[in-house]
């Protein structure tokens, strides 16, 4: 039952990524060129509603469907990891035109070269794991 709920949420997510065109390389490029409001509208709407949702869950102590408290883990307080990692991620995001959610959506949509992006994203994660102790965070 829980497995089915994760699958259904994933399906809605995949449909949303494709139909919103957030999975399109062209939309990412257009966003970085500041040529359209589309992507800013998507992220902005999601964040504004997200802030309200998170605040409401905290204020009204809303529990999960399974009666457990919903906890928000604060992100660790540091700087360089977020800044440097963020810049590297942005370079890849603009080049490949896909982030870690939409890249899987594009597999389902039949764009098989995206498998190269996914394979190297996994490799990139692996190399980060190897170098982690040597990098400034």
């Amino acid at each position: 039952m829980r497995t089915l709920s994760y699958l259904l949420i994933g399906i809605v997510f995949g449909i949303t990524m494709f139909k919103s065109e957030a999975a399109s390389w062209f939309r990412i490029y257009e966003m970085f060129k500041f040529d359209a409001f589309h992507m800013y509208g998507i992220i902005g709407t999601a964040v504004v509603l997200g802030v309200i949702i998170v605040a409401a869950i905290k204020k009204f102590k809303i529990k999960s469907f399974y009666g457990e408290p919903i906890v928000f883990e604060p992100k660790e307080k540091r700087f360089w990891g977020y800044a440097l990692g963020g810049v590297l991620f942005g370079l890849g995001w603009a080049l490949a035109g896909a982030c870690p959610g939409p890249m899987f959506t594009l597999v389902g949509a039949g764009f098989l070269p995206i498998l190269v992006v996914i394979a190297f994203a996994i490799l990139g994660t692996f190399v980060y794991g190897l170098l982690r102790d040597k990098l400034p965070h």
């Binding site: 994760y6 699958l7 949420i9 809605v12 997510f13 995949g14 990524m17 919103s20 065109e21 390389w25 062209f26 939309r27 970085f32 060129k33 040529d35 359209a36 409001f37 509208g41 992220i43 902005g44 709407t45 999601a46 964040v47 509603l49 949702i53 998170v54 469907f65 399974y66 604060p74 660790e76 307080k77 540091r78 700087f79 990891g81 990692g85 963020g86 810049v87 590297l88 991620f89 942005g90 890849g92 995001w93 080049l95 490949a96 982030c99 870690p100 959610g101 899987f104 389902g108 949509a109 764009f111 070269p113 992006v117 190297f120 490799l123 990139g124 994660t125 692996f126 190399v127 794991g129």
Partner: protein
């Protein structure tokens, strides 16, 4: 019923993403896609090489099921809910992309120069996809999250680190497009 084949406007798309985050919270989970890449490393045996990959990946199985759903959702959206996949970006953007050699701008969902099947035999395109993917994977883990984990989940929880990461995403993206693209594509 033709609207069902049209792209979704930004406000529907944004609301749908917020709904997905809410549903994941209500089933006791968090919205964050790039951690799946770490889980996949562990499944492939990376835990024998680095401490970072030594964790109980079965606790992350739920997120891999979300990924499976995202693949199925991509199939449904592309093959059942879309008549014309062309992404109608700003005509100025189309012009700029054509000047860079992207002939498919304005007429396709993804640029054929990077994502058509024949790129699999084109070393330059393959190299660009590989570098792009590598940076996404490395950068997401270094930053502790990606667009979903930081830009959506993190900002929704008013986390300063997520704002730093998102500013980084944009700094990197702008550098790629304004400085590196004219050097890579010309």
């Amino acid at each position: 019923m033709d609207w069902i084949y049209e792209p979704w406007p930004w406000y529907v798309s944004g609301a749908a993403i917020a709904l997905i985050m809410l549903l994941l919270l209500l089933v006791g989970k968090n919205f964050g896609m790039s951690s799946n890449l770490r889980t996949l490393c562990t499944i492939c045996g990376a835990d024998r090489k680095a401490e970072f990959f030594r964790f109980d990946w079965s606790a992350q199985k739920w997120n891999l099921i979300v990924v499976l759903g995202a693949i199925i959702g991509g199939f449904i959206a592309s093959f059942l809910l879309t008549a014309d996949p062309a992404v109608h970006i700003n005509p100025n953007t189309v012009q700029g992309l054509q000047a860079l050699g992207f002939e498919s701008a304005g007429t396709a969902y993804l640029p054929s120069e990077l994502y058509a099947m024949d790129v699999l035999t084109d070393p330059k395109s393959l190299l660009l996809l590989a570098i792009g993917g590598f940076l996404v994977g490395f950068g997401a883990r270094y930053a502790g999250g990606c667009t979903s984990g930081h830009a959506i989940s993190g900002l929704s929880n008013l986390q300063w680190p997520s704002l730093v990461a998102v500013i980084g995403f944009f700094a990197g993206g702008l550098f790629m497009i304004y400085v590196l693209f004219p050097l890579i594509f010309s």
